[in-house]
Amino acid sequence: MVKKVVSGNYAAAYAAKHARVEVVAAYPITPQTSIIEKIAEFIANGESDIQYVPVESEHSAMAACIGASATGARAFTATSAQGLALMHEMLHWASGARLPIVMVDVNRAMAPPWSVWDDQTDSLAQRDTGWMQFYAENNQEVYDGVLMAFKVAEHKDVQLPAMIIESAFILSHTYAIVDMPPQEEIDEFLPPRKPLYTLTDFDNPIAVGALATPADYYEFRYKIAKAMEKAKEVIKEVGKEFGERFGRDYSQMIELYKTEDADIVFMGMGSLMGTVKEAVDVLRREGYKVGAAKVRWFRPFPSEELYELAKNVQGIAVLDRNFSFGQEGILFNEAKGVLYNTDAKPIMKDYIVGIGGRDFTVEDVKKIANDMLKIVESGKLDEEVDWFHLKR
């Protein structure tokens, strides 16, 4: 193992290099830029022979990745917020063509008002595009996530693109130790891609992106739905193998932290869960029976694991660094939906936190714990959605 002190973005760039990515097509946007700058540097000093296409927009970045992936190459890109939104059309094209492209999205708030700070709405707004989504808590998970994502995405029964998501600045620009396994071991874990179909098959030329009438379109969609279901199994297998090889286990799509005897669980995604875990430790010392559930994979959604957790807790405080206008926090909405047809009925409340980079602290988690305790004890939910930081 090599231990390097790197930012989340450099972790992503190293992971792309170590995954032996063949084509990168990308467009700069804050706070993603240092990912592609690092890759450009690898190429300039001969450390990597990635074909780098400095496209003229994100729409073209994804289109070029689609072209490269359809040709049989391992393709990678990275973007953020406005760039991801501009890619939106192409995201559907990538999943619809069943191409295992991997992308790092640096979560950033959508404009207007203009903002470059952390917020999950950019990636969650892409939840219906047929991409898998993995939310990293720290720089190590950014690195590991990229390596695993290729393996899952390229699995013959999955063949779907994947997004590894990290927080603006909190991860992208903050340095931490990242363990990087030796290249040979990575190569064993992630052998060269074996595409099922390519544009280089001249004996059986394929046509990508044809029209399907109502008689066929439906089945195409069903196949993607099935592949996403299958991806849950593959994610667990690959996460387990990763743990066996490299010592960090990812066999659970929801990481549980001190939930065994917890009455209340904080549930959320991404870097804010680091703060939550720290708060859980503090609260435990003070006698609170609380735990944390970090949703690593949001697509496919880990419904079964959520049910298992929800069966045994009294309250779930969902921490949403995102919002769906006209409804509620997106994780909250999905989690409630999953539990509706089950016998697990914990009281659930949605806390809208950290949007647009607003600080979210251990103190905040404590406040939420006390609020949630009151609710659980009284059995009365005051309001479903709490705009927690609002200046009042």
């Binding site: 804050t30 830029t33 300039a44 400095p54 406005q82």
Partner: protein, 315 residues
């Protein structure tokens, strides 16, 4: 005694307090362009304020409007990065429909124009919107920390075209959007420079007064992006003109056979070598050790002049 009218209006639309770097050449573009535009509006419509601004994402947008402040003393809208021309088209359509007089001004950087915004620009020009589009060309994506654009000159260092053992820096010739704009056969296309403020001022006024779309590509220094000291900002832009790197011209109605040139040496021989321009700038530092690459750059510059119909000699 009569008071002499100043050659450049004393009205200001670009207020101090914006957050551009000291020595920013593009801030000069903003200030001069809005002054010239207002003077044209006054002369043409009797109202110096008869305009609105549509602005693409980029340095000049970001430094000028951080809530709750704005540096703009004119109505201003920022929609996104890729579409200043489209947003301006919409403002102009409504402007006309609602019966306002005047013209719309659009600002975008080289990235916002030559790359991600090229499609929107072409649409705006082709549809003949009454908009003056000013591309302030600092020759890279500065707002995001100096990545290459298609307007980055050959050989330049940027963070996505770093020189190294296997790289000379940017390895493609500069794209000249002014020529692409002129191919739309619109009433007025020009290039300009912050080093010749009177020429720029005159061109903006002319652009503002024509009926229909106009396009100006103006070179503006970026202090950190070109790695120049702030006090050399204008000097380096002047050298770009004097060495033949930056042409000054006007093309009306796509008439490539009658291009008007400014500050062009009569004999076609530029007196100062481009090395004088390059050596002031850290972005070309590695190039000075690479005579072949400099020769390559010279050839490209000559080719560019040839497209403009001029045979030039570079020392």
């Amino acid at each position: 005694m009569a008071v002499r009218k100043p050659p450049i209006t004393t009205r200001e639309y670009w207020a101090p307090g914006h957050a551009a770097c000291a020595g920013c050449g593009c801030a000069i573009v903003m200030r001069l362009a809005t002054k010239a535009f207002s003077e044209a509006m006054e002369e043409k419509y009797g109202d110096p304020d008869a305009f609105a601004i549509a602005h693409a994402t980029g340095c000049m947008e970001v430094v000028s409007a951080v809530f709750p402040y704005t540096a703009w003393k004119a109505p201003w809208i920022h929609v996104a990065f890729e579409n200043a021309a489209a947003a301006a088209s919409g403002v102009e359509a409504a402007w006309k429909k609602l019966g306002y007089k005047g013209k719309i001004l659009a600002f975008a950087g080289d990235g916002g124009t030559a790359d991600i915004g090229l499609q929107a620009l072409s649409g705006m020009l082709e549809r003949r919107h009454n908009v003056v589009y000013i591309m302030y060309d600092n020759e890279a994506y500065m707002n995001t920390g100096i990545q290459r654009s298609s307007s980055t000159p050959y050989g330049a260092w940027t963070t996505t075209s770093p020189p190294g053992k296997y790289s000379i820096g940017e390895d493609k010739p500069k794209k000249w959007v002014a020529l692409i704009a002129a191919a739309h056969m619109v009433p007025y296309v020009a290039t300009a420079s912050i080093a010749d403020p009177y020429d720029f001022y005159r061109k903006v006024k002319k652009a503002a007064k024509v009926d229909g779309p106009a396009f100006i590509q103006v070179q503006g220094t970026c202090v950190p992006g070109w790695r120049v000291p702030p006090e050399k900002s204008v000097e380096v832009a002047r050298l770009a003109i004097e060495t033949g790197v930056w042409p000054l011209f006007e093309i009306e109605n796509g008439d490539f056979r009658n291009i008007k040139f400014q500050r062009f040496p009569k004999d076609g021989k530029f007196k100062k070598p481009i090395e004088e321009y390059l050596k002031l700038q850290g972005r070309f530092k590695h190039l000075l050790k690479n005579p072949e690459a400099i020769q390559q750059l010279k050839e490209q510059i000559k080719e560019m002049w040839k497209v403009l119909g001029k045979e030039v000699e570079l020392p």
